[in-house]
């Protein structure tokens, strides 16, 4: 019945509340489309995990309803929901081998042994963990455990995949690699994915859409651009730091990356090619009324479109084709005699451009 219900909805939660004492969820309403990579972003204790555990059916909401693929599943047991979950600390069953862990869900569904074997091999090949099948989880590294937890979750071909802080227990190198891996798996399998994180870089790099949570409430939902450029509350502005976040395409030559973002080109000393996300801290950008003569590789001119007094610091937005947020002290803002509409030059070093 398309037209009556939005037929692309995979998950819909309506006014869901759940009080667990320590953590709570307050009147959450959300719609997630089929095939979407959806991010739930918020600080520790915001109620992110309880939200996805409620979607999985671990808890029954105190009030409100949960729909999966147009069916009301509010009172359905987790086992009948076809929603898989990966926790931050993986929760691999320590008494089973890697193979036993990955096949766990299929065994519950009484799938044929040979088929379990075939599916296990397929997913482990895809994730590059075939050599670990006979090992026990206790002997594996964080990145390996993470891949096995993901394999165990997706091998049952769930309708929805829930990821609870999947990258935060790993070192930064592994995080970058696995972040790309998650994007690849999602592209390949197309499973509707809900990814919980407190890292806005992760959210920006991976999310089709983002919901920001705070104090058990969902306070903004939108595309990464909407949420980061137009935060609807001071909390979000502070939380995401109003950093300069962009997506672009990077080409590497002579050990530097040149990233094309909406027609302008930014140079970075981080080497990475392809589709990337870029961030530049507002305090790393120099601003001047005249041409800036410095060693900085990136230099643009534009017009101040917005000025915000944050106490000792003034945040200005300079439109150079892209809106750059520039932070400067109140003293220098006054000395430079800047105001909305002023033509200025901005510059920043290639080393200040972070690619992720």
């Amino acid at each position: 019945m398309p037209g009556i219900l939005n037929y692309t909805n995979m998950i819909r939660i309506e006014n869901v509340s759940k009080d667990l004492g320590e953590f709570k969820l307050n009147d959450a309403t959300l719609q997630i489309d089929e095939g979407e990579y959806f991010i739930i972003l918020g600080p520790t204790g915001a109620g992110k995990t309880i939200l996805i555990e409620t979607i999985a059916g671990i808890y029954r909401p105190d009030s409100g309803r949960v729909f999966l693929d147009k069916t009301d599943v509010t009172n359905v047991l987790p086992k009948d929901r076809q929603i898989s979950m990966v926790y931050q600390d993986y929760m691999l069953f320590p008494h089973l081998t890697v193979e036993g862990n990955i096949g766990f869900g299929l065994r519950q569904k009484k799938v044929d042994k040979s088929e379990i074997k075939a599916k296990t091999n397929e997913i482990t090949d895809l994730l590059g963990i075939s050599h670990l099948l006979g090992r026990y989880p206790g002997t594996l590294s964080g990145g390996e455990k993470q891949r096995i937890a993901i394999a165990r979750a997706v091998v049952t071909e769930p309708k929805v995949l829930l990821l609870d802080e999947p990258l935060s227990a790993l070192d930064s190198r592994t995080t970058e690699r696995l972040s790309a891996e998650l994007a690849r798996i999602h592209k390949l399998m197309g499973t509707t994915t809900i990814h919980v994180t407190h890292s806005f870089e992760e959210a920006f790099a991976l999310g089709d859409r983002i919901a920001v949570m705070c104090g058990g409430r969902i306070i903004q939902v939108g595309t990464p651009d909407e949420v980061f450029r137009r935060p609807n509350s001071k909390f979000i502005a502070d939380f995401v730091g109003v950093a300069n976040l962009f997506r672009g395409r990077s080409v590497v030559h002579d050990d530097i990356s040149e990233v094309r973002i909406d027609g302008i080109s930014v140079v970075s000393s981080t080497v990475a090619s392809g589709d990337v996300s870029v961030s530049i801290r507002p305090e790393d950008i120099l601003i001047s009324k005249r041409e800036i003569d410095s060693s900085a590789r990136n230099s643009f001119s534009g017009e101040i479109t917005e000025v915000k007094d944050m106490g000792g610091i003034v945040r200005t937005v300079v439109d150079v084709g892209l809106p750059f947020v520039v932070a400067l002290t109140k003293r220098s803002y006054e000395d430079l005699r800047l105001a909305p509409g002023t033509r200025v030059c901005i510059a920043f070093k290639a080393s200040g451009v972070h690619i992720f």
Binding site: A56, F93, P94, F104, Q108, A153
Partner: protein
């Protein structure tokens, strides 16, 4: 000034050493009281063989009963919040501190003087002065101990293992049986061994409820008591020696598993 062994180290180690010597001399006093030959002859006697058999049967059954009750009760206390939980927890821990002989008096009153006891007795379950009484006495004294070990074992295992199992197709019971329970294996073995060992040695409560009847409710500790009373030292020492062997072996197995208990 030269570095010397500290006084603290010397004093504390000496105290420990003296304690070990004290315990060892008790045990060797019993084991060496009679000649090996008469010890073996006593162990082979009809009475001691009866006591060994009765002790083994009652202690194994009471240990299985403790496990069967402790697993669900420990799970409830470890995982759920419910009305009156603190009070209930205190009550079920009480037998840990209660003298066994007092528990035995209570059991004797329940089974010997109430209409509930009379009803059980008329339906064939006689606990007073029977081997059934020994089993129920061992169960009563040891259940809290098993419960304590299982509760701390379950508390050490994150409930999220069960959550994951549930999302992968288990109902809550299957999830428990396939994750938390097998992961509790070491706690279960360690708790079971020590409960069994304590069951073998149970005296006070069993004496009150089942009495000390030769060749009827005569477990190893009861046999020791009876034979000491009537001066048959050979038989008494045989019973004591067997109990020493059982404790040493049990303690070894307990240590083996308790030390390898991982927390997940």
């Amino acid at each position: 000034m030269l570095i010397k062994e500290s006084t603290l180290k010397i004093v504390t180690i000496s105290v420990t050493l003296l304690l070990a010597i004290f315990i060892l001399s008790l045990l060797s006093g019993i084991v060496t009281h009679t000649s090996l030959q008469s010890l073996l002859a006593s162990i082979a006697s009809k009475e001691i063989r009866f006591a060994i058999k009765l002790s083994l049967i009652t202690s194994v059954i009471s240990t299985l009963m403790c496990i069967a009750v402790a697993i669900p009760a420990a799970y409830a206390l470890a995982r759920y919040d419910f009305f009156g939980k603190t009070l209930i927890q205190t009550i079920v821990d009480l037998p840990l501190a209660l003298p066994p002989i007092v528990a035995g008096v209570g059991l004797l009153l329940i089974f010997g003087t109430t209409s509930f006891g009379a009803w059980l007795s008329s339906s064939g379950l006689k606990f007073v002065f029977t081997p059934y009484g020994i089993i129920i006495a061992q169960f009563t004294v040891n259940i809290s101990f098993m419960l304590l070990i299982m509760r701390s074992t379950f508390e050490g295992i994150s409930p999220r293992y069960e959550y994951v199992a549930q999302t992968l197709g288990c109902n809550p019971v299957q999830a428990f049986l396939q994750t938390t329970l097998p992961m509790s294996k070491n706690g279960l073995i360690a708790g079971g061994i020590i409960t069994w060992c304590k069951g073998i040695g149970e005296f006070g409560a069993a004496l009150m409820l089942a009495g000390a009847i030769r060749m009827r409710t005569e477990t190893l500790p009861i046999s020791l008591y009876l034979n000491m009373s009537c001066g048959d030292l050979d038989l008494a020492m045989a019973a004591a020696t067997i109990m020493i062997i059982i404790s040493v072996v049990s303690l070894y197995i307990f240590e083996l598993y308790a030390r390898h208990t991982q927390l997940y």
